[in-house]
């Protein structure tokens, strides 16, 4: 049995996540993208499941991140593919804002 304790990792200052835009960061050996939408922050893997481009170089419109390489799209809230050519979902991570910091649960 595993315990249900969530392992929150301090990822960034809340103020470092731009509104209506995306940044990339390395966290615990992973390439992560953080998105600022409507005052909320969302987190997914940063590498597109299609062409292996970095989504932090992409184009955020509402809750959709568009890959800069082939313009496939994902919903940043859950990683679901929303536009061809992507068909594989992106891994998304729980986020909480606490003490002005963005915390992620990577496990």
């Amino acid at each position: 049995m595993t315990t249900m304790t969530t392992n929150w990792i301090d990822a960034a200052a809340h103020g470092d996540v731009p509104e209506d835009d995306v940044i990339g960061l390395a966290l615990a050996g992973r390439d992560i993208a953080l998105y600022g939408v409507g005052g909320e922050v969302f987190a997914t893997d940063n590498i597109c499941t299609h062409g292996h481009a970095r989504l932090c170089d992409g184009f955020l419109e509402g809750h959709e991140i568009e890959c800069p390489l082939h313009q496939g799209k994902f919903d940043v809230r859950n990683g679901k593919p929303t536009c061809a050519p992507v068909t594989e979902p992106l891994r998304s991570y729980p986020v909480k804002i606490e003490g002005g910091r963005v915390w992620l649960a990577l496990d």
């Binding site: 170089d57 061809a84 068909t87």
Partner: protein, 428 residues
């Protein structure tokens, strides 16, 4: 190369067996990127009838752009180009016929005759037959090995020749020629590009972009000969080496180990022409991807479609068009309202440089430059009045994405701010 077996047989399909005559069947000829997306889209749009996918290649639907780059250099496996993971392809429950050609379309009986002797009836037929690499009908063309680059097998055949100490002549300074030249150079080969026109990619980009590409390749040590026609090929007589000669129109000759032809694409429209469908440098379709036969559609490299961006009909030989027109043809075949008039988008990767083109730049446009080729990143905007109609840029994917929005919104812009790198594109 092992041919892959179709994983799903007709017996497993819905409707099959209940009443074969009521089963609605859509046959797709050509299992490349357009055909693959057509098949995928039929299912994602809820079509539960039979989908028959016939491809003359041994491989499941895949994307071709990496074949002249990562697959050619060995950095990526051919399997990495597949449109779908094997389990996702299986889940489509498509009756896939790899390594099979269609010999004839019988429009009266609404069926296609295959090279394996079988017949496939259809309710709707989608032609995604693509094209093949053009050959040169010149003297000696049958005397020397001439590589082309279109298929996985082409890339695998050429790859071993691209290494230090080997020389490669690329005939044709278009996109495929330049991408092969870049990969060959990065693999350490000596490379000469021979182009018959006075500039590179003359058919698709304005002169200033051709000049940028020329400088890029020369800086990488590629010898580029412009205005150089090829009058023939010859085997080099002396020695035991199997070397070849490219004979140029001015009487000179280039001796090399390997010759690659990158002289364009011939659309595979023979099936359509023999069936009496209207063709003009490819299969003519409308914005609903319909040919002159209402039961037959066409998409991808083989289709000639009206383009409001070009003001004429044209074939778009691009990754974008293969995907999006394939999807559009599938929806049209299902009776959905389709109006396929995409803003043309094209890209090329050479030496880590990413070049993209949106729209159709012409000499009549006013050019506004943002960034600078000298600093390695720039966008050239092509304006009619104050409206951006097209854009070409290198190493500026993010700005280009905003350029697409400007073009699609037809929004007037201030040329000075457009040229100013301190004005974010998002603010225009």
């Amino acid at each position: 190369m092992t041919a892959e077996r179709p994983e799903v047989e007709a017996a497993a399909l819905p409707h099959e067996g209940a009443n074969a005559h009521s089963a609605h069947t859509i046959v797709i000829v050509g299992a490349g990127q357009a055909g693959g997306w057509a098949a995928q889209t039929l299912r994602s749009e809820g079509f539960a009838g039979r989908v028959v996918l016939i491809g003359d290649e041994a491989h499941p639907p895949h994307e071709r752009p990496p074949l002249s780059k990562a697959v050619l250099s060995g950095a990526a496996a051919p399997e990495s180009t597949r449109l779908m993971k094997p389990e996702a392809f299986d889940a489509l429950a498509v009756q896939w016929h790899p390594g099979v050609q269609v010999h004839r379309i019988d429009r009266a009986a609404k069926q296609v005759l295959l090279s394996d002797g079988t017949v496939q009836p259809y309710d709707k037929l989608i032609l995604c037959t693509g094209g093949r690499a053009r050959r040169l009908a010149v003297q000696g063309a049958d005397q020397v090995p001439l590589h082309t680059l279109r298929t996985i097998e082409d890339a695998q055949a050429l790859a071993p020749a691209l290494r230090p100490g080997r020389s490669v002549v690329v005939v044709g300074g278009g996109w495929i020629g330049l991408e092969v030249a870049a990969t060959a150079r990065q693999q350490g080969a000596e490379v000469v590009v021979v182009e018959t026109q006075s500039r590179l990619c003359e058919r698709t980009v304005p002169a200033e972009v051709s000049a940028y590409l020329l400088a890029l390749h020369r800086a990488q040590g590629v010898r580029v000969l412009l205005g150089a026609g090829v009058r023939g090929f010859a085997r080099v007589a002396d020695g035991a080496d199997s070397r070849s000669e490219v004979l140029l129109a001015d009487g000179s000759a280039l001796v090399c180990d390997t010759i690659v032809l990158g002289v364009g694409l011939v659309p595979n429209d023979e099936l359509a022409r023999e069936a009496g469908l209207a063709c003009e440098g490819g299969v003519l379709v409308d914005a609903q991807c319909r040919t002159s036969d209402p039961h037959i559609l066409a998409a991808g490299d083989v289709a000639v479609a009206p383009s409001p961006w070009a003001g004429r009909s044209l074939r778009l030989e691009s990754w974008q068009n293969a995907q999006e027109q394939g999807m559009a043809a599938a929806r049209s075949a299902l009776g959905q309202a389709v109006d396929y008039q995409p803003l043309p988008w094209f890209w090329s990767d050479q030496y880590g440089m990413n070049l993209q083109i949106y729209g159709m730049p012409t000499p009549a446009h006013r050019v506004v430059q943002r960034g600078d080729p000298a600093i390695g990143s720039f966008v050239l905007f092509y304006l009619a009045g104050d409206v951006v109609q097209a854009a070409v840029g290198a190493n500026a994917a993010r700005d280009l994405r905003f350029a697409r929005r400007l073009i699609e919104q037809r929004k007037p812009v201030d040329a000075e701010r457009l040229a100013d790198l301190n004005t974010p594109m998002a603010k225009l």
